[in-house]
Amino acid sequence: MLQKIYDWIDERIDITPIWRDIADHEVPEHVNPAHHFSAFVYCFGGLTFFVVVIQILSGMFLTMYYVPDIENAWKSVYYLQTEVAHGQIVRGMHHWGASVVIVMLLLHTLRVFFQGAYKKPRELNWMVGVLIFFIMLGLGFTGYLLPWDNKAFFATQVGLEMAQQVPFIGDELKTLLAGHEEIVGAQTLTRFFAIHVFFLPAALFALMAVHFILIRRQGISGPL
């Protein structure tokens, strides 16, 4: 049955080369942990992606309950955490996953750095990776405010004051991020929500696409 559906589609749009391009490619021996166990270090990039997928999925489901409004944000988080079945688990995944992403990202970066895998011809992909790292930090920073508890509020207060220290444009940058000259309030929360849920993920998807396409074009760097 499934084979028939597949053949029906494949006959019309020749789907086989497309998924071959995506899924069917050689894994060299030196990156296969089954051959050399120490090759597990090559898994960190893929693990980062795996955790990112968890973050995206759990985040999507969290927005079914979350409200980016200073009156209701904390209450909605409290509600989904205490009243909704498995809400605690889903928010827990998003909460802990946020830290795990950074850890995996760091391990992946260390692997690439110490193996010299960033060297010619892969410099561009290193730069894209660094941009992804900044996007991730931005996601962490903006997501931290969303529960709108005391820790979130004051962490953002501190973060915004750091942005204010940027030479020449610091004050404007802070206002742009906070949505108000002085107050960290209603407009800050909606802004951070928009950045966290739409702007940064969009940038992240684009950069990840470039990252992966470059890997496929250039292949995995050779053994040490």
Binding site: L176, H180, G185
Partner: protein, 170 residues
């Protein structure tokens, strides 16, 4: 058709036109969005608004007293009345001094003679930060700058306070 008149080919002309029209459309789409995003930055800086703190000038002594009042705060669509606090006294010249209680170390709240072992000083309970009566930080304690000074004015014998202006570190 002579050669030199063909500086722009038909194909080039169409490419330029398409790019121009496309760019114009893209700009038309993006301009309102970007203008919306940067609107807070382009707002005029808020004027120092003064609030009656409910303290008559004649009641101000040379000993700092704590004054609490509320201001009308508008944050976009959200209106609230957050509380403010100041330490107010008259100095030796009879000028009114209104100090912000926010410690310049890490933002705790200081109080006048908050510690029995440090009379005639402002004291911060968090890290033992101290300030002299004029709000200047005592060297060797955590704060690196004096307490902020409130903008002030007197109307009908009542004290009005505005924004707290930070002072440079000593």
């Amino acid at each position: 058709m002579s050669e030199e008149k063909q500086q722009v080919s038909r194909r080039q002309f169409l490419n330029y036109t398409l790019t121009g029209v496309g760019g114009f459309m893209a700009a038309g789409l993006l301009a309102p969005m970007l203008r919306m995003a940067i609107d807070p930055v382009l707002q005029p800086p808020s004027e120092g608004e003064f609030a009656n703190v409910g303290l008559a000038v004649e009641d101000i002594t040379t000993t700092p007293q704590r004054v609490d009042w509320q201001i009308d705060q508008v944050d976009g669509w959200y209106k609230s009345k957050p509380g403010k606090t100041a330490w107010v006294y008259k100095d030796d010249n009879g000028d009114i001094i209104a100090l912000s209680p926010v410690c310049t170390h890490l933002g705790c709240v200081v109080s006048w003679e908050g510690s029995e072992s440090h009379p005639n000083q402002f004291f911060c309970p968090c890290h033992d930060g101290r300030y002299t009566k004029d709000g200047v930080n005592v060297p060797g304690t955590p704060p690196l700058a004096p307490l902020a000074l409130f903008e002030q004015k007197v109307e009908n014998g009542m004290l009005y306070l505005g924004k707290a202006i930070p002072r440079e570190g000593a």
